[in-house]
């Protein structure tokens, strides 16, 4: 089995599995309980919070656990609106956000907020001056994705957000850092982001856990209310097993970030070399691209057909973003993909366990597919 769909989800690592199972069988108390069993569970969360905070160079009081990045993104957007949305009614974002950001912003737009969606330039960049041009006294929030989940383009968040804050310190800044976290440095101290969304299952932890970083002193109103867990910012009994698993994965993979990155560069190089030998097969390249995420067009062949062809050979890739199951990607359109490219683009997303041999197998099979599958007519 060859798994090249690591941007959809990753295989949980041993550390995460053993942490979760230890908590499930041993420390299953409710962290809010006043007795010893509750206290033991709470201690686990405290140390998990420290670990996740450390992984992005944040203070532990700035980390709030959530059910995943969709909740983190929704929280960032709706909490901003709950806090200052009466006075400020404009949101600046990009046309290339994950649906958990774009749909949440759309909801505010339907309620009367003004929304500016910046389209990336030809080389995939979000222009700082373009963002700044729109920032004004009415601006509530600037939300920009760190690494695009479909193309791998990397936005220079710290430059963008520094400029935003220089224009108006009152504007909230949020980045969805899901695809960048533990792949490239995410430093809360230098990023100038008020809020950062993180996901567990994209970094070798189980699904159902994530976190949001909220800068100290921001005093955001909570989006989810109830029993007052997570210092009142995110109510709901904490999923101690998943939180511990998330922390263990973050610890383990913080250490190996640089060497894994180098590996991804090699894998991407190999992929690129192999595409050069095939007519009509090419990687989309932008000015700044994460080597883990590769947008590969196989002209004339339907991506869904290719995906199932490869799946029959136990090679797993994705067509566009897995969240949009079969729908044409609006995000790729915003990146300037042509209609025929939209139909024929695969996402090959690596992890450090992938090998160059596996990349070769993939490209051999893509070649086989081109020899045996029926082409799309244009």
């Amino acid at each position: 089995m060859i798994y090249f769909d690591n941007s959809s989800t990753t295989k949980p690592c041993e550390q995460a599995i053993s942490a979760a199972s230890k908590v499930l069988s041993g420390t299953w108390g409710n962290p809010s309980s006043l007795h010893k069993m509750g206290l033991e569970a709470e201690k686990l969360i405290i140390s998990a919070r420290q670990a996740v905070a450390k992984s992005i160079n944040a203070d532990e009081r700035e980390i709030f656990f959530t059910s995943g990045a969709t909740e983190s993104n929704n929280t960032a957007i709706f909490s901003s609106a709950l806090t200052k949305g009466k006075r400020r009614k404009k949101i600046i974002t990009t046309a290339t956000e994950h649906p958990s950001v774009s749909a949440a912003i759309k909801r505010l737009e339907d309620k009367g907020f003004e929304v500016v969606r910046i389209i990336p330039s030809e080389n995939g960049e979000i222009s700082t001056s373009e963002v700044i041009r729109h920032v004004d006294k009415n601006t509530l929030l600037v939300s920009i994705i760190m690494v695009n989940n479909e193309t791998g383009t990397v936005n220079d968040i710290s430059t963008l957000f520094k400029a935003v804050k220089a224009t108006d310190t009152e504007v909230y800044t949020h980045t969805d850092a899901v695809q960048g976290f533990l792949k490239i440095p995410v430093n809360a101290k230098t990023l100038c982001a008020d809020m950062i969304s993180l996901s567990g299952h994209k970094v070798y932890a189980p699904k159902g856990t994530g976190a949001i970083y909220v800068k100290k002193g921001l005093n955001l109103k909570p989006f989810i209310v109830g029993g007052g867990q997570e210092s009142g910012f995110r109510s709901g009994t904490e999923s101690v097993p998943l939180i511990c698993a998330f922390a263990e994965a973050a610890k383990a993979y913080s250490k190996t970030q640089d060497e894994r990155y180098k590996k991804a560069v090699l894998l991407r190089q190999r992929l690129k070399e192999r595409t050069l030998a095939l007519d009509g097969v090419y990687l989309h390249e932008f000015k700044s691209c994460l080597p883990y995420i590769n947008s590969l067009t196989v002209m004339g062949y339907k991506s869904e057909t290719l995906l199932h062809f490869l799946e029959e050979r136990e090679i797993y890739v994705s067509s566009g973003s897995a969240c949009s199951k079969g729908k044409k990607s609006e995000v790729l359109k915003a990146f300037g993909y042509s209609d025929s490219e939209l139909d024929s683009t695969l996402r090959i997303s690596f992890c450090a366990d992938n090998t160059e041999d596996e990349v070769d197998r993939l490209m051999d099979e893509i070649q086989n597919a081109m020899n045996s599958l029926v082409r799309i007519k244009r």
Partner: protein, 388 residues
């Protein structure tokens, strides 16, 4: 509370000497549908089926199921009373409270099967009407166009009172009209076609053609889901799944592009017919409606039907898309039908299909390649299972 269900047959009542056999099938179908909902007792009299739930029975759920049983035109929930006027009046006032409070006008209709009952029908109507008016002062009587008709039936054993008639599914009982094989794609039309045939008493089996890797497992799961929704009306569906990839690739390779669809459909029909023969189905059913798409012209249908020796029924032939959509919403298949998975491979669809193919040309084009071995293989490799 002593409730009972009264089911009116409609069309079966007119079946003359065959009425009993239709009734037998209907009761068998109903028993099967209600088998997990507790105990029920069944009696029949005068084109009505009386279903008496035992204590453990779930009557709400039973009504939901019965709404999908073909052969039933109306379903009434009635209260059972003793044959004593004061008991009838008391029960009518209490049992029909919600309905009567929501209405402004009513009338009472009395039916006496037991002619020895102490009151005549007009007397009963008048007296019960008075009791209802006494209890609900806001009501007035309107014998021509009442909002509610309160019916009281005097039978040998008991009396029944009911007011609300729930629409049944109509049609005639499944199993009284033979067996058909439905070509089921993932679209909106074919499940509706299956429903229409079942409504006329036909047992519906389904055949689906899949073409991995051009179509996905999720696309097949979607079709299975459609069959399952359809089975709420048709009963268990014998589902046949045919591997079709090789045949499609060979058509593409050897036949003219503009005839792709018509040749593909001819081969589908040929395979379906073989399956129908071996399964005892005596016709094929498709969801085609004339002129809906380029491949559903009369010319194309002439070409596809030429390979069939059994009839091909197309119950949607004269319907507009909007009419078909309306039925698919009613039977609950619409939302599943529009899920966006790739169905029978848009990759293969010709840019400009021939809308007026001539049979001779099509036969000649198809003869470019010997499809027989692949057809035999596809039939051989067809997987069959039951969906309900």
């Amino acid at each position: 509370m002593n409730e009972m269900l009264l089911l009116k047959y409609g069309e079966i009542a007119l079946k003359g000497l065959n009425k009993k056999s239709f009734e037998d099938v209907l009761i068998k179908n109903i028993k099967r549908r209600l088998r997990y909902l507790g105990g029920f007792e069944y009696t029949r009299a005068q084109s009505t089926l009386y279903i008496k739930p035992k204590e453990d029975a779930d009557i709400d759920e039973a009504v939901d199921k019965l709404k999908k049983v073909f052969g039933v035109t109306k379903i009434c929930r009635a209260i059972v009373c003793t044959k004593d006027f004061s008991d009838i009046a008391k029960n009518a006032v209490e049992y029909l409270k919600d309905t009567l409070l929501r209405s402004k006008t009513f009338k009472v209709e009395a039916k006496r099967a037991d002619k020895n009952f102490c009151m005549t029908s007009p007397e009963l109507q008048k007296e019960l009407g008075a009791k209802i008016l006494e209890a609900y002062g806001h009501l007035s009587v309107n014998v021509h166009e009442p909002q509610v008709t309160v019916t009281v039936e005097i039978r040998e054993e008991n009396a029944f009172v009911h007011a609300l008639k729930i629409d049944g599914a109509g049609g005639i009982p499944i199993g009284t009209s033979g067996r058909a094989l439905l070509l089921l794609s993932g679209g909106i039309d074919s499940p509706v076609a299956g429903y229409m045939m079942a409504k006329r008493g036909v047992i519906v089996d389904a055949i689906h053609f899949e073409a991995p890797p051009y179509t996905s497992e999720r696309a097949r799961m979607k079709v299975e889901k459609l069959a399952k929704i359809m089975s709420g009306y048709t009963g268990a569906v014998n589902f046949h799944c045919v591997p079709f990839t090789k045949i499609q690739e060979k058509i593409k390779e050897h036949c003219p592009e503009e005839l792709f669809t018509v040749i593909m459909r001819r081969i589908m029909m040929e395979i379906a017919q073989q399956i129908a023969d071996s399964e005892g189905a005596s016709c094929l059913v498709t969801g085609e409606s004339i002129g809906q798409v380029a491949s559903q012209t009369m010319y194309a249908m002439v070409c596809t039907d030429a390979v069939c020796t059994i009839p091909v029924f197309r119950p949607l032939i004269g319907m507009d898309k909007t009419e078909i959509v309306e039925i698919s919403r009613k039977i609950g298949t619409y939302d599943t039908s529009i899920e966006p998975y790739e169905d029978c491979c848009t990759v293969f669809t010709p840019r400009h299909p021939k809308t007026r193919p001539q049979l001779l040309d099509v036969q000649r084009a198809q003869a470019q390649f010997d499809f027989k071995p692949l057809i035999d293989q596809a039939v051989e490799e067809t997987r069959a299972y039951i969906i309900n």
